[in-house]
Amino acid sequence: MQLQLDRYAYLETPLHRWDPRCKLVGMMVLIFAFSYVRDLRLLPVILVVSGAMYVYSGLPLSFLLSRLRLPALFLLAVAVILPFASGQTVLFQIGPLAVKEEGCLDLLRIAVKFFSILTLGIILFGTMPFLTAVKAMRGLGLPYILADMTLFAYRYLFEIGDDLKAMQTAMRLRGFRNKKLSGFSTLASLAGTILVRSFEQSDRVFKAMILRGYGQPASFKDEFQARTIDVVALLLLLSAAAVVVTTELLLY
């Protein structure tokens, strides 16, 4: 199945074929290793590693750029504040504001790490379907209740969205235009109705789940089978993470 998130999750590259559990562990360890980096000399390294992995994943650049749009706003906020607020050494003045060297270096550090870590995250979740990611987490020990809640929440977002759209259409067909203050009470009623209906539906769905044995010990053990190459790739990535952290410790 293809969901909106999974547009490129069905390509055929080695990263796509990598065992989901190994991929999850390897990439998360690498992400944490990158977040540990403070020395500026390691920044090009993590940038090159994440860039190379992205190219290897076969995901299009447009996909990366579209996913970075929203987080980039956060970075923009940091970029506006940090060079002026952090440090002592003044590089130059812009009117009354002094651009400081330490602030600029901090910004560079944050921006490169931010970009590299996000790129790894996009590779991780862009090269496997969302469902597979949740199942892999479950296979690694995520409590089944949390995994199921995530899956059901994602599944029923579409249902709630459809219900909301249908109700909004019905309202518009009966002349509703949210231009007056009284419109807000209508919208509040709409939101309340959606909540009540989704609660009632969740009750019926739960009954259906119980009738099909939900809550009995379920078997999820055989869902994934890691190949030797998957484990080798995981070890490679763990080694790379160890090298980054060790180098950081030695340099700092």
């Binding site: 469902l131 899956l151 599944r155 259906a208 099909r212 379920a218």
Partner: protein, 263 residues
Amino acid sequence: MPQQTQQQPKTTVLPALETVGLAFTYPDQRPVLREVNLTIRPGERVGIIGPNGAGKTTLFMLSCGVLKPTAGEVRLFGKPVVTGDFHPEVGMVFQNQNDQLFCPSVQDDVAFGPRNLGLSGDEVAERVREAFTVTGIGDLAERPPHHLSGGEKRLVAIAGVLAMRPKLVIYDEPTSNLDIRYRRRLINFLQNSRETLIIASHDLEFILEVCTRVVLLHGGTIKTGGNPYDILGDIYLMEEHGLERPHSLVPHAEPHHDRAGTR
């Protein structure tokens, strides 16, 4: 010497479903079911008919152990139904299939039940394959259920229940929201079904085609039961309980319906 006749021991066939004095009342409401005594034998296809609010769905929920009776008892294949326990021998196809399709893919949804039975990965896969074959929906395996048509959703819901290999299957308004093509497909499917069936439906032509026995439920009690043609063809009985005779049982100047009620 006179020949001694060997007496074969009598084997008692346990009813698939038996309710004795079953009653139920929702909190702060009037009683929904009162003194319901119903016996369904294995292999039967029983239609439950009655107007809205007669208590059909409540009866089904009690039969599956989802609700606790206010009074009386329910037995499935001789064993008492304990409220809250899991009873894999009974499966239910809900009226609104959206309530029953809660996994992100059809394959996952059909596998949901067998996984909860504690089966191995291979056994689960086998059950899913079998359910897909029986319902003919193998091509929908990777699709998300919320993207399917009403008829497809119905078949997926049925596959999800059949994958658990229940001995008794309850269908609550199975033809609601189905087009003619899927309705006919469902009729053919149920006519060839090997499980014991209990079907609630307002589609009386459908009941005529599929069921071997009909039970009329109204006001929380069973009014009568018997041959579908006799029950559904009794105009006074049907009108007394807010129903109508199916068209195929209405006398025509030129008869154009066969006994099966198809044309």
